[in-house]
C-alpha cells in the first residue's frame, strides 16, 4: 500500500519553478529518502504535500486522501518536523508539548520514550533552548502521538553525532513498528544509513527514484590498480583516470571480463570498491 502518491505534482512561484512534474510513491513502512542539494525543491515538495502551498498542477494523495480537500484529516496521521524549526519562545518546553498534545487530541503513547531518548529541559522557556535542544523538541512533538507517518525536513541538523545515532536508531525502531517516514536530506551518509528507497531531485525535477541498495549495486564498482608496466599502456574504458601511478575507472556489471584483462599485466596492487552513494550523487550532479 502506498502512503504518499503524487502525480505530476508541480509548484511554480509565479514564474520561478519550485518543483515540476513530480511523480513518486512512498510505501507504507518504509523510510523514504528525498535527496537533493539546497534549493532543489525538497522543501517546496514537502510544503505542498502538507497543504501549505497549493499545487500549480498535478495532484497528490496521502493515505488515499487528496491533499487539497482532506488536508486536516491527513494531518491527524501525519506529523512534520520543519527544516527551519521555529517555536514559540515564550512557552516552556512543557507548555509547548501540552499545547500541541491538546491540538492532536489523542494519547501521547511515545512521549515518555522520546523524553528519555531526547532529553530536554522541559521547565525552561523555549527561547533559552540551544539549536540542538530545539531540534530535539521538534522531534519529540512530531513523534509523541505515534503518527502513521512523519515528514522530516533535514531533521538531524544541529544534532551532535551521538544524538544523530540515537535518532537513526529511533527511526529504524519506528519503521519496525510499521510507521512510514519521509526524510528529506542533503546528507548522503544519513540516507545511506537509514533509508530504504531514495528519490533524487535536481532543479525541481526528480532525476532518480530507486532502492538504496540497487542504486548502489547498479552503479557498479570503482577499480583502482597499479601495474608494473607504464600506466599509459593499460587499455581501460574511456573515463580511465591515471593519478600517482594508480589507474582508476568505473565498471558497471562486467567485472569478470576486466579481471581477465588484468592477467595480461603484472599487477602490483588492486582495490575494488563499492560505489558509495556519494559517488553516485556526484555522478548525477556532475553528469549531463
Amino acid at each position: 500500500m502506498n502512503v504518499i502518491e503524487t502525480s505530476n505534482l508541480t509548484k511554480y512561484y509565479g514564474k520561478i519553478k519550485g518543483v515540476e512534474d513530480l511523480t513518486l510513491s512512498v510505501k507504507k513502512g518504509e523510510i523514504f529518502g528525498f535527496l537533493g542539494p539546497n534549493g532543489a525543491g525538497k522543501t517546496t515538495t514537502i510544503r505542498t504535500l502538507l497543504g501549505y502551498l497549493h499545487p500549480t498542477r498535478g495532484s497528490a494523495t496521502i493515505f488515499g486522501r487528496n491533499i487539497e480537500d482532506e488536508i486536516v484529516d491527513i494531518k491527524r496521521e501525519v506529523a512534520y518536523i520543519p527544516g527551519d524549526l521555529n517555536i514559540y519562545g515564550h512557552l516552556t518546553g512543557k507548555e509547548f508539548l501540552d499545547y500541541f498534545a491538546a491540538l492532536r487530541n489523542r494519547e501521547m503513547t511515545l512521549l515518555e520514550e522520546l523524553l528519555k531518548n531526547f532529553n530536554v529541559p522541559l521547565e525552561r522557556k523555549l527561547k533559552g533552548y540551544s539549536k540542538g535542544m530545539k531540534q530535539k523538541i521538534g522531534i519529540i512533538q512530531a513523534f509523541m502521538d505515534d503518527p502513521e507517518m512523519v515528514i522530516m525536513d533535514e531533521p538531524t541538523s544541529g544534532l551532535d553525532p551521538l544524538l544523530q545515532q540515537k535518532f537513526y536508531d529511533f527511526l529504524i525502531k519506528q519503521k519496525k513498528r510499521g510507521r512510514t517516514m519521509f526524510l528529506s536530506s542533503h546528507i548522503l551518509s544519513e540516507v545511506d544509513r537509514v533509508c530504504d528507497r531514495v528519490g533524487i531531485i535536481k532543479d525541481g525535477n526528480l532525476i532518480a527514484l530507486e532502492d538504496v541498495e540497487t542504486l548502489k549495486s547498479k552503479r557498479g564498482k570503482i577499480i583502482r590498480l597499479k601495474i608494473k608496466e607504464k600506466p599509459e599502456t593499460f587499455k581501460g574504458p574511456k573515463d580511465t583516470k591515471i593519478k600517482d601511478g594508480w589507474i582508476q575507472f568505473i565498471v558497471m556489471d562486467d567485472i569478470d571480463s576486466w579481471i581477465k584483462k588484468f592477467s595480461k599485466y603484472i599487477i602490483q596492487d588492486l582495490v575494488i570498491e563499492d560505489f558509495s552513494l556519494e559517488d553516485i550523487f556526484i555522478h548525477y550532479y556532475e553528469g549531463e
Partner: protein, 386 residues
C-alpha cells in the same frame, strides 16, 4: 468536528495575552480613575471655558454628540471615552489583532502550528475568539473603575447608561479586532500590519467625525444621468423622477408642528409642486398634497377646504392665467406662496401671464416666487413654518 469546538488555539491565545490583558486593564483603570478624579479640580475653569463658547469648535471636531464639557458626563464623554476609549484603546486592540497572525508568519511558527490537524480557517477563527476575553476584561474593568471613582468623588452618573455604553462598545471593538485580523492575514510582517491598521483606524475616525457634521443634501434639476453618477459615490442617494431631485438623507430633523399644503391647478404643474414638496420635507416639514384642483372645475377645491383651513402655509402652483392663487388666498388666513408655471399656451408667455396675475392678486397674504421655482417656494414655506 469535535476538535473545532475544543478551542485549544483560542485558549492558548488567551494564555499568551494574559499579561497584556492584565497590564492594559490596569492601565485603563488607572487612566479612568485619574481622569474622573481630576474633574472636581477642573470644574470651575471648564465652566468658564464653556461660557466663552470654546467647546463649540471642539464639538464640531469630535462630532455633535459631544456633551457640554463642563458637566461630568460631558467631561467623561470627551476626555475619557472619545479620546482614550474609542481612539487609543481601539488602536491598541487593533495593534494586537494585526500582529496576531502576522507574528506567527513572520516568526515562522505557523509552519509547526499548521502541522497539527487544524485548518487555516480554524486558526484564524480561534485566534479571533482568543482576543475577545481581553477586550471584555479591559472594557468592564474600566467601567468598574469609572463607577468606583464616581461614587468616591460624589459626582452624579447614571450607571445604567454607563453599562449600556460599555455594552454598546463591544461590537465596535469586535469589528476593530476583525479589521486587525484581516490585515494580519494579508500582511505577513507584524509591524507593517499594525501600522497600516493604525492609519486605517485614524482615517475612519476622522471620516466618521467629519461626516457627522454633514447635513442632508438636496439637489434640484437633476436628470437621470446625474443621479447615476451621484449614486456611484453615495449609495444612499434617492431620486424623485417627477421633481428631478436627488436627496441624501443624513440627519433626522425633529418634525415641525405645522403642516404645509401644496396645491396644483393642473396635472402639468405637478413636477414643480413635487420640487417644493421634496424641499419642504427634507427641511423637516409635514407636507400634504392636493393636485389638480384648479379653476377649470373649481368645485374640486371645496373637497379640500378642511386642509386649506388646517395648513400653516400653502403653496399654490398654477400655470395659464394663474387664478387659483387668488382664490386660495381669498379663502385661507395663513400665508400663501404662489408659484407660476411655464405650462399653457402661447399668450401665457411661458409663465409671465400667471406671474403677473399672482402679483396683481386682490387677495392679501400672497407672495409670489419666480416661474417654476418649486424649490424657492418649499424653502420659503419651511422658513414660515416654524
Amino acid at each position: 468536528m469535535n476538535d473545532i469546538f475544543r478551542f485549544r488555539i483560542a485558549f492558548q491565545t488567551i494564555m499568551d495575552y494574559k499579561k497584556t490583558t492584565l497590564i492594559l486593564t490596569l492601565l485603563f483603570m488607572a487612566m479612568a480613575v485619574l481622569y474622573c478624579g481630576m474633574f472636581p479640580a477642573f470644574k470651575e475653569p471648564l465652566e468658564e471655558m464653556a461660557d466663552s463658547g470654546i467647546f463649540e469648535s471642539f464639538s464640531s471636531f469630535f462630532g455633535p454628540s459631544t456633551f457640554d464639557m463642563a458637566t461630568y458626563v460631558g467631561f467623561l464623554n470627551l476626555e475619557l471615552y472619545q479620546i482614550f476609549w474609542i481612539v487609543i484603546l481601539g488602536i491598541i486592540i487593533g495593534f494586537v489583532a494585526a500582529s496576531l497572525i502576522s507574528k506567527e508568519i513572520e516568526g515562522k511558527t505557523i509552519d509547526i502550528l499548521m502541522s497539527n490537524p487544524v485548518s487555516r480557517k480554524q486558526i484564524v477563527f480561534e485566534k479571533f475568539i482568543g482576543l475577545i476575553p481581553m477586550t471584555l476584561i479591559i472594557n468592564f474593568g474600566t467601567m468598574l473603575a469609572v463607577m468606583g471613582i464616581t461614587v468616591l468623588i460624589g459626582e452624579e452618573l447614571s450607571f445604567g447608561n454607563l453599562f449600556l455604553t460599555h455594552v454598546a462598545s463591544i461590537p465596535y471593538f469586535l469589528s476593530i479586532l476583525g479589521i486587525g485580523m484581516l490585515l494580519s492575514v494579508i500582511i505577513d510582517e507584524k509591524m507593517k500590519a499594525s501600522i497600516i491598521f493604525i492609519a486605517l483606524l485614524m482615517g475612519m475616525y476622522f471620516i466618521e467625525t467629519m461626516s457627522k457634521r454633514n447635513h442632508s443634501i438636496l439637489a434640484t434639476k437633476a436628470d437621470k444621468k446625474i443621479f447615476t453618477a451621484v449614486k456611484k459615490m453615495h449609495t444612499k442617494a434617492e431620486y424623485n423622477e417627477l421633481a428631478k431631485t436627488i436627496v441624501i438623507r443624513k440627519e433626522k430633523l425633529k418634525p415641525k408642528k405645522g403642516m404645509i399644503l401644496v396645491i396644483t391647478a393642473g396635472t402639468s404643474d405637478i413636477p414643480v409642486a413635487e420640487e417644493a414638496v421634496v424641499t419642504a420635507e427634507i427641511m423637516g416639514n409635514k407636507v400634504e398634497k392636493a393636485y389638480d384642483v384648479g379653476v377649470a372645475g373649481v368645485h374640486r377645491l371645496f373637497d379640500i377646504k378642511d386642509k386649506i383651513f388646517d395648513a400653516n402655509v400653502i403653496i399654490v402652483v398654477a400655470g395659464m392665467e394663474g387664478a387659483l392663487a387668488s382664490i386660495v388666498g381669498g379663502l385661507a388666513s395663513r400665508p400663501v406662496i404662489a408659484v407660476p408655471t411655464s405650462v399653457g399656451y402661447g399668450a401665457s408667455f411661458k409663465g409671465i401671464a400667471p406671474l403677473l396675475t399672482m402679483m396683481n392678486s386682490c387677495a392679501e397674504g400672497i407672495v409670489v416666487v419666480n416661474i417654476d421655482n418649486g424649490f424657492g417656494a418649499g424653502y420659503f414655506a419651511s422658513l414660515i413654518n416654524r
